[in-house]
């Protein structure tokens, strides 16, 4: 048998750790434990002893005993940070020996916002690939909390390899209007859990066509907004059904998000009975929904446990310019900022296993490069975030088309000119792994004018999903990627 020498850290047999920080992080963690994530170590971290005691996570770490005496932080991130720093040794033990660390937290609270950056930093020092999944608070929780959440997001941005951030406001779209609060939060947790499991599956299930974090990071790199969709189906028509389910996921904005995406990562997992024809069906349908210029990373894997079923996970990123008005995204639930730490001024491809090994062997001091100065887009992102509640209310109370147009005009004025003027550093487009790509590769996205970006934003303003009416079930008439069954005036006024 031929043995292939492996580098110390190999993504082929990763050690996964999932850490839930704070109350919301703990809740999501419980869900993951219940759903099951084989091969991962699950740790709950909290200041609140009572919440910790109620958690079903196998490992639990209480932080800040001396500061909070087993109570919560009272919503103060400072206390959360101090608590985490006070227990850094214990936390260090938690994150040691991990290849990939997922850190889950509800941003905006005390423990989540305060302890999250500390834990991410510790994990990073241990040489792990750090993925942060955060949830932004509901807008009704107040601006103060949103500001705290954004602060934490900024802090963690320089520390994690990948930051994915759900907006709780968008979670409301996932559940039915008459769902109970309990259900709403449960659904949010379930979505988070699904996202983590899908990402874990990326590295755990190896297929012939492989995609990994390198591709995800490439797809989501830069100041981008990102979307996640997941679908699973069985039965004779499972390929089609799974894709429809993934499209229906509100976090993908019913497939519309794909139109704005610059890059899409698709992972298709099936059992041993997964056929090439089914893959063909899926990719055909998917390709119909995206532009030619969109870069597509396709991964497939087989897992005997998936026999008879097919699951599809879609990650995609859209350029920040288009995504700036968070306020108007009708169903985009997942805003992610994917950044590489340290080498921010000169982004380079995501580390391969080899590179990561080297990096780890370097003294950690060397890895601590001076903190890069904040980029203009970062601030902008903040602004937009804070404007959100106002716009969201407006758009909810005024669903008539004419008023939407009025809003559009307003929005064009409101959209900061800086969006268009801010020079976008050309993003490196070449991952070290030759990724499986379909479609044309565009070296750099064409510069967008303020006008087009403003119009593209408008597309997200449709408050109800576009309906094809009586053509709902018939074969779509698609010419140049446009579904002609959707009323022209809807397509034209929004583009």
């Amino acid at each position: 048998m031929i043995t292939i020498p492996r580098t110390p850290v190999d993504f082929a047999r990763p050690t996964l750790k999932v850490i839930g920080v704070g109350g919301a992080g703990g809740n999501a963690l419980d869900r993951i434990v219940l759903d099951g994530l084989p091969g991962a170590e699950i740790v709950a971290v909290n200041t609140d002893l009572q919440a910790l005691a109620g958690s079903v996570a196998p490992n639990r770490v209480q932080i800040g005993q001396s500061i909070t005496r087993g109570l919560g932080t009272g919503g103060d991130p400072e206390i959360g940070r101090n608590s985490a720093e006070g227990c850094s040794e214990e936390l260090q033990r938690v994150v040691s020996d991990a290849t990939i660390v997922f850190v889950l937290a509800g941003l905006g609270g005390g423990t989540g916002s305060g302890a999250l950056p500390v834990i991410a930093d510790l994990a990073r020092e241990q040489g792990a690939f750090v993925i942060v999944l955060g949830t932004l608070p509901f807008s009704f929780e107040g601006k103060r909390r949103t500001a705290q959440a954004m602060e934490a997001l900024d802090a963690v941005r320089g520390l994690a390899d990948l930051v994915i951030c759900f907006e709780n406001d968008k979670m409301a779209d996932i559940v039915a209007p008459d769902a109970s609060v309990q259900d709403a939060f449960a659904t949010a947790d379930a979505t988070l859990s699904q996202c983590i499991r899908a990402m874990a599956a990326l590295v755990q299930r190896r297929g012939l066509l492989k995609v990994g974090f390198d591709e995800i990071a490439t797809a989501l790199r830069g100041e981008m907004r990102s979307y996640f969709g997941y679908g699973e189906a069985d039965g004779s028509n499972r390929a089609h059904d799974a894709l429809s389910a993934a499209f229906k996921s509100p976090l993908l904005d019913h497939g519309r998000a794909l139109k704005q995406a610059d890059a899409i990562v698709v992972q298709v997992v099936g059992g041993d009975d997964f056929t090439l024809n089914e893959l063909n069906v899926i990719m055909d349908e998917l390709n119909r929904c995206i532009f030619e210029r969109t870069r597509l990373f396709l991964g497939t894997a087989t897992d005997p446990q998936m026999n008879g079923r097919i699951s599809i996970s879609i990650f995609c990123g859209a350029a920040a310019v288009e995504a700036a008005p968070v306020a108007h995204s009708a169903g985009s639930g997942l805003a992610a900022v994917a950044v590489r730490r340290e080498e921010k001024p000169q982004p380079r491809p995501v580390p391969t296993a080899v590179q990561r090994g080297e990096e780890r062997s370097r003294p950690t001091v060397a890895a601590r490069a001076p903190e890069p100065e904040p980029e203009p887009e970062v601030e902008e992102y903040d602004e937009e975030e804070q404007e959100e509640p106002v716009h969201a209310q407006q758009s909810h109370s005024e669903p008539e088309p004419e008023e939407e147009e009025a809003l559009e005009a307003e929005e064009e004025e409101a959209a900061p000119v800086a969006v268009a003027e801010a020079p976008r550093a050309p993003l490196p487009r070449r991952p070290l792994f030759a990724p499986v790509q379909k479609g044309r590769i565009s070296d750099a996205p064409a510069p967008r004018t303020a006008a087009t970006s403003a119009r593209e934003k408008q597309e997200q303003m449709l408050l109800e999903p576009v309906n094809r009416g009586r053509f709902e079930k018939s074969e779509p008439t698609i010419i140049d990627g446009q579904d002609l069954d959707i009323p022209t005036f809807m397509r034209r006024t929004v583009r």
């Binding site: 009586r470 053509f471 018939s474 074969e475 008439t477 010419i479 002609l484 009323p487 022209t488 005036f489």
Partner: protein
């Protein structure tokens, strides 16, 4: 049988199924005996999606036509449509064998099959191979090469093809009613037979037939078909747009489109409202007139732009002497001709079936162009002999007489000779 021939044209449309019974006189004129119609269900975008329901509608229409015309319908000419139908132009060529110079029927057959030697997508089948022009030894403008002397015969053909199974579905739908389908004709080709006269075909004309589910077109240049095709957008889309845009039910939207619809912008007073009445006559919702017009305008504009984009590469558009002839149910929308003129930069005329006698009120409806055209098409296909069962039998006999008998005689002679020798 004899000199007069009764032909039935059947169109299974998206909004209605219609059967036209026509009588082709010995002198070639066509008399419409009756038109049977039934609202269509189970058809979307020109294609059957619910076989059983569509079958019932076809039966209703045929029964209606039988009652009105007092004719037993046994066979029909069927028009088909759908976005899957495509077309292209191709040239076929044959070299005349060394030992003769005269071009004969066989060469004509050969040139046609050589033009068909193209690779269609696997599921597709040929629907029409329409002759455009002959070239004999490179000389063009030859009207009828048979009997001429030459070394090389070439011919341009316009080839229409579509997905075989989808075409057969429509045929089967009719055959299940125990009715024979004599020929399958692409919708706009049939419509052009009654909408255009020979002069217009020579000048160059574009026929656009915008029906319920599809918009079909066919362009004649120099008397020959140059381009044809089908776009799966039709009046249904306008109704659907209105229903979604104005938030009114489908049936109400259809009625509003027919009664108040217009494609002209800016002709209404600002803020002019239309009050929608329900069945009992009570005032219901109010709809802004300009909004209504805008929705219709945008859909039609887009459709015309798509058509124009499809036709522009051919390059003949500016030279169509007879302009555009617009037919089909959607041609009844007010202002549609002005809009089409603006986009195509050509004179547009709304039209319906012409050069017929009989029930005039029936065929002055642009919705029936294609169905009436089928009768004319049937007539054009058999200029010499009426294609009744007898005549077809006669043709078989002729084949038998000219081909099989000499063959058999030769074989017999050969065998006889062989036996004698041994």
């Amino acid at each position: 049988m004899g000199k007069e021939q009764i032909v039935v044209g059947l169109e299974i449309g998206t909004s209605k199924v219609c059967a036209v019974v026509g009588d082709i006189k010995a002198d070639g004129t066509v008399k419409i005996l009756g038109v049977g119609e039934a609202p269509s269900r189970g058809v979307r975008k020109g294609e059957i999606v619910d076989f059983e329901t569509a079958g019932k509608c076809v039966r209703e229409a045929l029964v209606d036509a039988e009652e009105k015309s007092d004719v037993m319908i046994g066979s029909v000419y069927l028009s088909v449509t759908g976005a899957h139908i495509q077309s292209f132009n191709n040239r076929g060529a044959v070299t005349i064998p060394e030992d003769r110079e005269e071009i004969d029927d066989q060469d004509f057959e050969d040139v046609q099959s050589s033009a068909r030697e193209v690779s269609l997508p696997a599921p597709n089948m040929f629907l029409h191979t329409i002759l455009q022009h002959y070239y004999v030894d490179g000389q063009d403008g030859v009207l009828n090469p048979i009997g001429m002397l030459g070394r090389k015969l070439e011919a341009d053909f316009h080839i229409v093809h579509g997905v075989g199974t989808r075409i057969k579905n429509a045929v089967r739908c009719v055959k299940e009613l125990d009715i024979e389908v004599l020929d399958v004709v692409f919708g706009p080709l049939a419509a052009a037979q009654v909408v255009l006269d020979q002069n217009q075909k020579n000048l160059g004309a574009l026929v656009i037939d915008m029906g319920g589910g599809t918009t079909e077109y066919i362009a004649y240049v120099d008397g020959a078909v140059r381009a044809s095709g089908c776009l799966a957008i039709g009046g249904d889309h306008i109704t659907n747009d209105l229903s979604l845009g104005l938030r009114i039910p489908m049936t109400r939207a259809e009625k509003l489109k027919v009664e108040e619809g217009s494609a002209t912008l800016g002709e209404s007073e600002p803020g002019e409202m239309i009050t929608l009445k329900d069945e009992t006559g009570f005032a219901g919702k109010e709809v802004e007139r300009e909004m209504l017009h805008t929705i219709i305008h945008m859909r039609l504009r887009e459709t015309f732009e798509l058509l124009r984009r499809e036709l522009d590469p051919h390059g003949f558009l500016p030279y169509l002497g007879a302009g555009i002839l617009f037919t089909g149910g959607c041609s009844l929308i007010r202002g549609i001709d002005t809009l089409a003129e603006e986009i195509f930069q050509l004179p547009v005329r709304l039209t319906h079936a012409k050069t017929m006698s009989g029930l005039t009120s029936a065929f002055e409806n642009p919705q029936l162009s294609a169905a009436i055209g089928l009768i004319k098409y049937a007539h054009a296909m058999q200029p010499d002999q009426p294609a009744g069962i007898l005549s077809r039998l006669a043709r078989r006999l002729k084949l038998f007489a000219f081909v099989l008998i000499p063959l058999a005689a030769a074989a017999a002679a050969f065998v006889h000779h062989y036996l004698n020798r041994s």
